[in-house]
Point group: C2
Chain length 252, copies 2
């Protein structure tokens, strides 16, 4: 063992079964060998979003390839909250931040939405997927959130299932306090919620009218200060997890 | 008027009185003239943390100096929640993020604390003060949070007032769900709360024992995932504002 550090945790697409050797990607091999200086027999944890979390040891590590010999399942696959975040892409750093933090906060689907005031040139979905994967690896999640391709707001809310509430973060001050609105959902176990955050310039009036007309939308206020879009996104997810989501476990 | 944009909002230390000319700093003058291309008579909003928010017009703008002729008070000074965030300084970007977002989320005091596992070389208080000021200007706050010089954890919790609860964000999983713990404080109007977030490696056992022994501490869990220190700081403030703080206004 070349290192006594805690085992690294990596996402792989492969099936996870005891005794099987799983090839890692070239990027993962380079990371293990060069950045983290790991070598043969060093422990690794793997997850794939289906088979739980598995321990294993490195077999054959070069700068270009590496594999893990799977030993045993350490955690079973958990059913997570089904949380969808619709966000208008903003500048690169705050968009990266939304993806990283929303992953830590347990989001399932990240859906960039194009609104009237969105500058849509900037969405690099591959980059966002890599950020979500790294955040999932580090925060101990058993899935990597699904980063979707950007789509128009109207398209995203078409064919919306009636039982998925859509919380609209309303910067115009028209919404009710977030704790009051979400309190109505505590213990209902509806299992699915969504949140939509506008672009820096806010939603256009026609978009707000459209969102207000939806039978599944709830307008929410996040207090008297003007929050940046990334702050609002993280605040919405935090409130949900604290009030209705998996941060309540142990309190029932 | 050289621009039709919304008035810029700036913090100044000066007293704000109708009819008085307030000199801006060289940095503010350069920002107005060169970055934002503002000129004589363009509207500006000023606040100083004491006299509310005032409107005025620019008089004399060069790249090095500018002044504002005060017209009238637009908002009176509000009493804000008294919220203290104790955080172990981490890397530069996440530390900057804590300061910016905590300001948006209504923190009053930002106190870097040196813990056993803190790398304390990195705290640039002046830089953090500039970030807090800019965030306060942009989010519409009437004060700039007080960014304190780093101090040892033990020193910070000495002479602590008994009526200020200290929520300890406990990554070891020992705390109760945040919504349950904070629910005990709803409507009590204790007026003052504090939050402490450990460094990336977590608190040392002796530090946890010390924090547990304090009569004013409450250990809080933020769910099953491993949150980064910056995420935990923002989640703690968000939960407080949503459940006990000024995000509830309008719900009483």
């Amino acid at each position: 063992m070349t290192s006594s550090s805690a085992p690294l945790r990596l996402y792989v697409p492969n099936d996870l079964v005891a005794g099987v050797e799983v090839d890692l990607s070239p990027d993962q091999a380079r990371y293990l060998a060069q950045v983290m200086r790991r070598g043969v027999d060093d422990p690794v944890l793997l997850f794939n979003g289906r088979d739980g979390e598995w321990s294993g040891g490195l077999v054959g590590v070069t700068k270009k390839s590496a594999a893990v010999l799977l030993e045993q399942q350490m955690r079973v696959q958990e059913v997570e909250c089904d949380l969808k975040l619709l966000f208008a892409p903003i500048k690169r750093n705050p968009t990266d931040l939304i993806v990283q933090k929303a992953t830590e906060l347990g989001v399932s689907v990240l859906q960039p939405v194009i609104t009237q005031r969105t500058n849509s040139d900037r969405v690099k979905t591959d980059r966002l997927r890599a950020i979500a994967m790294e955040a999932a690896e580090q925060c101990g999640r058993m899935i990597v959130p699904d980063v979707r391709e950007p789509a128009a707001l109207l398209q995203v809310i078409t064919d919306w299932p009636d039982d998925r509430v859509l919380f609209v973060m309303d910067e115009t001050g028209g919404g009710d306090p977030v704790a009051d609105v979400m309190a109505e959902h505590v213990g209902r176990n509806i299992g699915a919620a969504a949140f939509v955050i506008g672009p820096e310039g806010g939603f256009a009036d026609t978009e707000l009218d459209l969102l207000r007309s939806l039978p599944f939308s709830k307008f929410v206020s996040l207090g008297p200060r003007i929050l940046r879009a990334d702050t609002a996104a993280l605040a919405a997810l935090t409130c949900w997890q604290a009030l209705c989501g998996d941060w309540r476990r142990g309190s029932d």
